[in-house]
Amino acid sequence: MSDILKMFTTVIKSLFKKSTCRQYPFKKPVFFDRTKGHIQIDRERCILCSLCDKRCPTGAINVDRNARTWAINSYKCILCFRCVEVCPVTCLAMQQQYSAPEEIKKSEVVEIPAKAEKAKA
C-alpha cells in the first residue's frame, strides 16, 4: 500500500514550500562571473587586425579595414570564446548579458575610430 505513496511527501512538501521559480522576467536573471552572454568590443583599443574574423569558426565576426568597422552577427555567434582568446590587444570581452531576440536578423556594427582620433581622445 505504501508503494503508491512514495511521491506523497515530496509533493506535499513542495505544496507548502515557496516555489524555487526564478520569476524571470519580473526578477533579474541570475548570472555567474563566467556566464557567457555576448561579445563586446572596446572600440578604442581595436587595431583592426581581423584575427577574430579569421579565427571565428562560424564566420560571425566581420572586420572591414577600409570602412573601419567591426561587425558581429549574434545569430551566428556560438559563444565559443575563440575571438577573445586570439585577440592580440585583448579588446574583446565576454559580457554576461545575453543578446536579445529580434524580429529581423541584423549584425551589430561598431565603427572603429582612426588612430588620429584615438590620440585626440
Binding site: D3, I4, K6, M7, F32, T35, I78, F81
Partner: protein, 359 residues
C-alpha cells in the same frame, strides 16, 4: 485477425522531442511491427573536418549532441592527442573527469525526468528537472555555459577551477545528493512506476550481446561493459566498477541509471579530493598525422571516434559511432510484441539521442 492500424510515431511527437520516425503497426493496441525511418537531423558534420581546422573541430564535436556535449569534445580531443603523441597534464585530465561525470549526472537526471514524463508522471518530471538545474548551475558557475560550454581543448582544458571553488562544489554535490534521494526512492519503489516498467521491453543477455547493445542498456541485461574500465585519462587513478543489473527490462535500465548518479557523485568527490595542482594544458605544435580510435564512455554508452590526420591543419576523416546508433537494433527487438502504451517507455529506456546518431 484484428484490424491493423499504422500509428506514425514522430518526427514530431510530444513523448520524444527528437525527430525519429517509427511506423508502429498495431493490431488493436499490440505492436506487431516497427519500421524506423531516419535522417531528419542529419547535418553531415563529419565532413566539416575538411573545412574547419582540427582545433576548431572541437566546437563541432561538442555540437554533435547538446546533452553529452562535453564528453563528445573530450573524446575527439583524446583521439587527436593520441595521434599527435601529446602528454596531457594530470590536472586537466582530472577536470575532464569532473565535468564528464557532472555531464553524466545531468544527462541521467534529464533522462529520469523525460522517462517519468513518458509514463504520465508529471510531478516526478518537474522535480527531477528541478534537481538537474542545480547541476546546470555548477556548469554555469565553472565554465559559463549551461549545456554547451566548450571547456575541452586539444591539449587540455580551457578553463581552470580554483581550489576554493572545488571545495564549495563538494558541498553543492552533497546538496544535490540530498535532494535527489527521495526522488530516487520514487523511481525504485513506486507502484505505478513499476507497473509501467517492470517486465516491459525485455532484452536478454544473449540478445544484448549479439545485437551490440552498449551502456546502461547492456548493463541492465547483465553485460558488465563500461569503457571507463579502459582507464583512459584520469580514470587511471579512479577505480570504477560498472553497475550491472540482470533483469533486462525497462525497470532494470532505470535502476542502473539511478545508481550511476550516486556513482558519479561519488567519483566527483574523489576527483575533488585527489586533483593535483599544475598546468591545465600543453602547447600544441604541428599538425596531426596518422589515425586513432578513441573510445569513451558517455551517459548513453560507448562512443567511438575515429580521426585520421594527413599532416595539414585539416583532418582527412572524422567518424563517430554513437551509443544510440548501437542501441537501435536492440530497441527494435524490444518493441515487438509490446502494447502501444509501452512504446514511449521502451523507446526512452535506451535513452535515445537522435542528434548524436544522425549527426
Amino acid at each position: 485477425m484484428a484490424k491493423r492500424t499504422i500509428v506514425p510515431f514522430g518526427p514530431q511527437h510530444p513523448v520524444l522531442p527528437e525527430p525519429i520516425h517509427l511506423d508502429l503497426v498495431l493490431e488493436d493496441e499490440m505492436v506487431v511491427d516497427v519500421l524506423p525511418s531516419v535522417g531528419f537531423i542529419h547535418r553531415g558534420l563529419e565532413l566539416l573536418c575538411q573545412k574547419k581546422s582540427f582545433q576548431d573541430m572541437v566546437f563541432v564535436a561538442e555540437r554533435i549532441c547538446g546533452i553529452c556535449s562535453f564528453i563528445h569534445g573530450v573524446g575527439y580531443c583524446q583521439g587527436i592527442e593520441k595521434v599527435m603523441n601529446l602528454d596531457i597534464p594530470k590536472r586537466a585530465q582530472f577536470l575532464r573527469v569532473f565535468w564528464g561525470e557532472l555531464s553524466r549526472v545531468h544527462s541521467h537526471l534529464l533522462w529520469l525526468g523525460l522517462a517519468a514524463d513518458a509514463i504520465g508522471f508529471e510531478s516526478l518530471f518537474m522535480h527531477s528537472w528541478r534537481v538537474r538545474e542545480k547541476v546546470l548551475a555548477i556548469f554555469e558557475e565553472t565554465t559559463g555555459g549551461r549545456v554547451i560550454f566548450g571547456a575541452a581543448k586539444v591539449g587540455g582544458v580551457r578553463i581552470d577551477i580554483s581550489q576554493d571553488k572545488l571545495d564549495q562544489l563538494a558541498i553543492a554535490l552533497d546538496e544535490i545528493q540530498k535532494e535527489y534521494e527521495p526522488l530516487a526512492k520514487v523511481f525504485l519503489e513506486d507502484y505505478t512506476v513499476q507497473h509501467r516498467w517492470s517486465e516491459v521491453g525485455y532484452l536478454s543477455k544473449e540478445d544484448a550481446h549479439q545485437l551490440g547493445a552498449v551502456g546502461p542498456t547492456a548493463r541492465a541485461s547483465g553485460l558488465p561493459q563500461d569503457m571507463r574500465k579502459l582507464r583512459y585519462g584520469a580514470y587511471e587513478d579512479l577505480e570504477v566498477e560498472p553497475i550491472v543489473e540482470t533483469a533486462g527490462d525497462c525497470y532494470a535500465r532505470c535502476v542502473v541509471r539511478v545508481k550511476e548518479i550516486y556513482q558519479s557523485l561519488d567519483l566527483m568527490r574523489r576527483v575533488i579530493h585527489k586533483i593535483p595542482a599544475g598546468e591545465i594544458e600543453t602547447k600544441v605544435t604541428g599538425f596531426p598525422q596518422g589515425e586513432y580510435f578513441s573510445r569513451v564512455e558517455q551517459p548513453r554508452g560507448e562512443v567511438v571516434y575515429y580521426v585520421k590526420g594527413n599532416g595539414t591543419k585539416f583532418l582527412d576523416r572524422f567518424r563517430v559511432r554513437t551509443p544510440t546508433f548501437a542501441n537501435i537494433p536492440p530497441l527494435l527487438q524490444m518493441l515487438k510484441g509490446c502494447t502501444l502504451a509501452d512504446v514511449p517507455a521502451i523507446v526512452l529506456s535506451i535513452d535515445p539521442c537522435i542528434s548524436c546518431t544522425e549527426r
